[in-house]
Symmetry: C2
């Protein structure tokens, strides 16, 4: 019989509870001090802006690795984008409610992977209960529910897979079993031309290629044109194609526009089309009585995707996929289409792995549970109201400020703007280049973090206001910095 050697010193050391306590205490200390410094704007800028090459050189130096875990913690904190600095106004990733990181430590330790109930009894049950609760907060009907998954891109894919399976069943087919070749007609998704690229990516992943996505024109407020939706639908039908789903954006990524869900819903209803809402960024307005109207009509959705790691203050990735009819959550992956029998009892709600792409998952629902228990869901309305107020104020500041233009009056916490071109001799393209250069200069020399986008042939500076501690003084400083850098940017092109 082989003898089991004793646990090695290295392993005993690594698994020691005392050692864990030391590392967690160190992490707590470093993060608490980081939070204070960031919130007090102590650094020169919210974003230390090393070039990729500089960063690579730093981490390629073997000395960096000599201070162990604590050294990595300190260096990674110092060399990251500081979302808790109120001057962070960049991308759509949450400035997290700090204690959700403590929850993350708890769940990382327990690591209950949850594919089957036994591998995560508490989080599997919480997921089912809380997702139903939140679905109803979104306005979905009594029989709604949902699942949690890793990210909006995956969430949108899963929702569209449900829609595809549904279309197959309408035709008496089963695409999960027989592949997409089984469809007698090509399937397409209709979505706003301003929507996130992950909708097109989902259609390509599912095998439909670029033609699987039909872009619908937007109006001057960047919202999907209902007239064009109808025209595109007609064109699609005339071409002998079939619609997999219409996707409403709540809101678009670029400018933060909310599509008219009510109108889209009624068109979908008329044609018997699956109605999906990509609410990754903004479906959370449903939690705020002030802004809920932006998603009126969401209650008719077959599926809704919401990233809690965007406007709900949670760390990435934590995405909800909500189904208007709970039993349809078994559509994307079930080998046997039990849901057709209309016998919900056959579905094991407790084994979430049957309804998610992932086999093992992180304990995502525990974070929702901690939010509910500590703050109540009301904290999400507070967050949305603050972020949206920041968007509104920055929009108004730019609208009334000399020398600036606004892409559109903000409907969300996203603001796109740019300096007006001072000289009619300068071409559109050249001015775009100036703005690109301006943004690059600001990245290096400015104190805030602002990004960029491009639409209508124009390059725009773009702020997403994710940090509730951002204030009007931050906006003022940011605009002044751009104004100070602008002459240099112009000069570099003359």
């Amino acid at each position: 019989m082989p003898q089991l050697p004793p646990v090695s010193d290295a392993l005993r050391h690594a698994f020691s509870p005392v050692r864990f306590a030391e590392s967690a205490t160190k992490a707590t200390e470093l993060l608490t001090s980081h939070l204070k410094q960031a919130q007090e704007r102590q650094a020169f800028s919210s974003y230390p802006a090393p070039s990729p090459e500089e960063e690579r050189t730093f981490w390629s130096d073997s000395d960096v690795w000599k201070d162990g875990r604590d050294g990595i913690f300190a260096n990674v904190i110092a060399r990251s984008n500081h979302l808790h600095d109120p001057r962070y106004m960049g991308h759509q990733v949450a400035t997290i409610i700090p204690e959700t990181a403590s929850t993350g430590m708890v769940t990382d330790m327990l690591n209950n992977g949850q594919a089957i109930y036994e591998m995560g009894p508490s989080n599997a049950v919480q997921e089912d209960l809380l997702m139903s609760e939140i679905a109803r907060m979104l306005g979905l009907p009594e029989e709604s529910g949902g699942i949690l998954c890793h990210g909006g891109t995956l969430g949108n894919l899963v929702a569209l897979m449900a829609a595809q399976r549904h279309v197959a069943h309408q035709l008496g087919l089963d695409s999960w079993q027989d592949g997409i070749h089984v469809f007698p007609q090509p399937l397409v998704v209709l979505v706003s031309e301003r929507a996130h690229y992950c909708i097109a990516r989902a259609m390509r992943t599912m095998g439909w290629g670029a033609e699987g996505t039909v872009l619908v024109r937007t109006n001057h407020k960047h919202q999907m044109c209902v007239d064009d939706l109808q025209a595109q639908l007609k064109r699609v039908f005339d071409q002998g194609k079939r619609v997999l789903a219409v996707v409403g954006s709540s809101c678009t990524t670029s400018a933060g526009a909310f599509d008219p869900l009510e109108d889209i819903a009624s068109i979908c209803k008329r044609h018997g089309i699956w109605f999906h809402v990509d609410g990754a960024h903004g479906a959370s307005v449903a939690f705020s009585s002030t802004h809920r109207h932006l998603v009126n009509g969401i209650e008719h959705a077959d599926t809704v995707v919401l990233d809690f790691h965007k406007t709900c203050g949670l760390p990435a990735l934590c995405t909800g996929v909500f189904y208007g009819r709970y039993t349809q959550s078994f559509l994307p992956f079930s080998q046997h289409a039990k849901y057709l029998w209309d016998n919900a009892e056959d579905e094991d709600w407790w084994d979430t792995g049957k309804r998610t792409f992932e086999c093992t998952k992180r304990m995502l629902s525990t974070r929702l549970a901690a939010i509910k228990a500590e703050f109540g869901w009301g904290i999400w309305a507070e967050l949305v109201d603050r972020m949206w107020a920041l968007g509104n104020v920055l929009g108004a500041m730019i609208e009334t400020r000399d020398g600036w233009e606004l892409a559109m009056k903000p409907e969300a916490n996203i603001v796109c703007f740019r300096p007006l071109c001072p000289d009619p001799e300068i071409s559109i393209d050249l001015w775009n280049d100036v703005i690109k250069c301006l943004r690059k200069m600001h990245l290096k020399r400015g104190s805030s973090y602002v990004v960029m986008t491009e639409f209508d042939g124009k390059v725009w500076l773009r702020c997403t206001l994710m940090n509730p501690l951002t204030d009007t003084t931050d906006f003022e400083t940011m605009l002044q910095e751009f104004e100070a850098l602008l002459p240099m940017a112009i000069k570099s092109f003359s």
Copy 2:
């Protein structure tokens, strides 16, 4: 001009660094004590086994939600599957190296989403550097590299998407652009009949249906039969189909068998077929000089998937997708097939979002960095050696014990076994039912956590030895418990 109201008390409270420190200190305290209790086997069982209904009743009680975050922490810890209890011998999810949970707290706070370089400079660079380093530890060539993603199911999908694109390019086509209808022949993947279901799931997701996956027979050691692989290839060619990839399992999920990668590699080479290794569970043996031989041939793989949250002690989800040729990591998602120009300079290695399914990601590489800095990669060899020794010893114990049979001599930390049927009058099906019942009884009354699987028409008890502190005495107790319960299980069927 709209005035910005002051930050609400609720938000100021939620974002307070002091409050974060309190929550993190509380979490540290609870987890340290949990670790001690779990490692000392203080509870009656490693798994509190509430039924889904009991668990649902518990969380449906509004009183549970009154103790705030600390109450949730305490209840979730108490009501989870305790992987740090040495009697945990269940599914393939890591008993994490405790301090990786502290790292998780750091990265959850920073939340640098990393789609583009600026949203995570340190982790984007670490990812690129460390994935290349680990790729070479796996034995992949100098030009290898990879990306991190959320889970093995997603990692295998991404690898197969790369393979599909590669096949398209060989034919002068572009499936990402034009969809899978562009292929003149159906594409199939060949994989062991014992492989994880996510390979078939990937093919179905990509639109190929059930026929997209061809199962290759396994030998008595549950390894892919090379002869049958050749026969199946011939059959596939005769049917006018084309091969997307051959997938070797390292190891299979059910019994932990390692496919003969060397043989598979040479067949793939002969036919010019993409060779993918699903090493989610066991590719980590490459880090151990004792067990590396199990993946001989992996160095010829085009892609390899490895879950660091299985045998490398990290929390879920943290998966590496490795490419033998780094530039091919741009295959799955690039709209323009730049890699064809053979001009690697055109690829922005620093914007990892171009190569991952996810747009926003968790800061996965920081965890790898902390492991490297604190322990050196050697800790993975320690882990593998211990887990594999445990598998070996449990296998030997069962082999030599009266009244038990082993499905196969363990090649990994996975052991499948069952009590021998004492009476030839009992049918195979009935004995299967007895074993199912036995396992159910043990779940409720036993002190360890053991799972179940089914193959060759037989139901097996199944241990995966993920916890380095598991000892032979735990095996002895577990077997005695099953022996004590067996007569009752038999009786319930007579």
